[in-house]
Assembly symmetry: C2
Homo-oligomer: 317 residues x 2
Amino acid sequence: MRALITGATGFAGSHLTDHCLAEGWEVHGTCLGADLRAPAIPGLTRHSVDLRDADAVRAVVARTQPDRVFHLAAQASVAAAWADPAKTLTDNLVMTLRVLDAVRLETPGARVLVVGSSEEYGSVEPECFPVVESQELRPVDPYGVSKVACDLLAQQHFLAFGTHVVRVRPFNQLGPRQRRGFVLPDFAAGIVAIERGAAPVLKVGNLNSARDFTDVRDVVRAYRLMLELGEPGAVYNVCSGTTVRIGALLDILIGASSVPIRIELDPARTRPIDRPATVGSYAALHAATGWTPEIPITRTVLDTLAYWRAELVHQAQ
Amino acid sequence: MRALITGATGFAGSHLTDHCLAEGWEVHGTCLGADLRAPAIPGLTRHSVDLRDADAVRAVVARTQPDRVFHLAAQASVAAAWADPAKTLTDNLVMTLRVLDAVRLETPGARVLVVGSSEEYGSVEPECFPVVESQELRPVDPYGVSKVACDLLAQQHFLAFGTHVVRVRPFNQLGPRQRRGFVLPDFAAGIVAIERGAAPVLKVGNLNSARDFTDVRDVVRAYRLMLELGEPGAVYNVCSGTTVRIGALLDILIGASSVPIRIELDPARTRPIDRPATVGSYAALHAATGWTPEIPITRTVLDTLAYWRAELVHQAQ
């Protein structure tokens, strides 16, 4: 089995690469320029491609002849989407179009996973929790709008061309290799810095915020299962079906740290309006594939701490 | 009351201009370059603007200070969207973003109508007819995907910024000034050509296709009412709630023509798969505004024939 993963060196992409390699697959990945993340994946064949370039995308699909295409690459930062909505909207949409067109023209029998986001649901009343896939889409940020557009473009290729597309709406993901700017890597890297001698103060935002978190390794396993067993054209949530407080993540980290740490509330890290966490339902995914989340949150947090301990040693050297 | 209409010289735009002028409003319209349609609207102040240009759009909104903004401009051809999906997707989305941003920054109290399409519903099972606004969106062509993206971007500006946006999903529109390439103008112009001495043969596609047609003049009246009485953030269908066969339009035209006409089926005009017509419900619009369609289809068809008789005389001179 031959996989092509766009954004293979990103957070989820690198874990999906690991997962497919562990399944014995041949794995090709696209990355933009010389992305040096995930340096420890010797089995990955990298292709440097600007996914907005139709000819380049078509060429890499023609050359690699994938059986499975996982389209993970995107401008994935909500903050960056607020800063330049036009760029996020057009780049995410055009990249998805290029991948779908390349498959249609070069490997029409390949199966394609297109990654959306729980941000597509946006503003949902809590009485609608846990959110199922038929929930009305009410994105509140331009990133969420861009993901709806990609999602429905993928559905359109299924409806119009019969492309074997499966769409996914992942909720919040956690784990090793997530870049700083997200809450768990910021906490973990901050604690490791204190362990190395920094002032023993960790600045935090609202610890009562809660999210529906899934370990990224459970998420990428779902991605593979969805392409094998999911219904063509369908869309599936990937989520845990429950929420965890940010404060609970911090408690696990502090319990595992080797030094005393003082927590300080930083108003700059507190959002003026913190929406209640959207809780998803993975019932459809479970019915189609048997998937359930397997990695407990404690292991996710401790593995992330271990990653940052190794990463910061590496960076210091 | 001061209106700014994007695409004011287009099919619906020119009728909306007429309608707003008849209400005693001051009307400004944008058009791309030197669009010479709708030459008979002396009350319209035209502004030549590329709506993809953020600064230009912001400048025209700042200069005209509209109370009501009707965003009608779009790449509106399904065929052109198939030919170049990336252009339709990005142009329609960026134009809508520019208009919403300009209102947010320059005239945040203005009300904005954003025009979607029944193509957003796409593939709907007939048991779901008549389609209400909460119907799942399953567009089958890239034009429909672009309209979903514009629709949800408008909703996002309501949710995030409180912009008074009302969204509309018009079904098929008919009437004078519709350009050729659509069925009724093609029939009417063909018949007028025969009346002027062309060979008495009219080539047609599938006459049993049916559509949910509304007179464009009823449609633009709905647009104005929606901004006055519709709920901010809401979306409304504009439709007739019933379907009319293409053949019935042709029967009305032939009955009104002054010459014998032979009908020939042209396989090139027949689509390989002709989806059953999607029928819409205007119950939500009626409840909010009292609107119902008022112009009977016979008058629409005869007015369109009269338009083409005058238009082709004009062109011949």
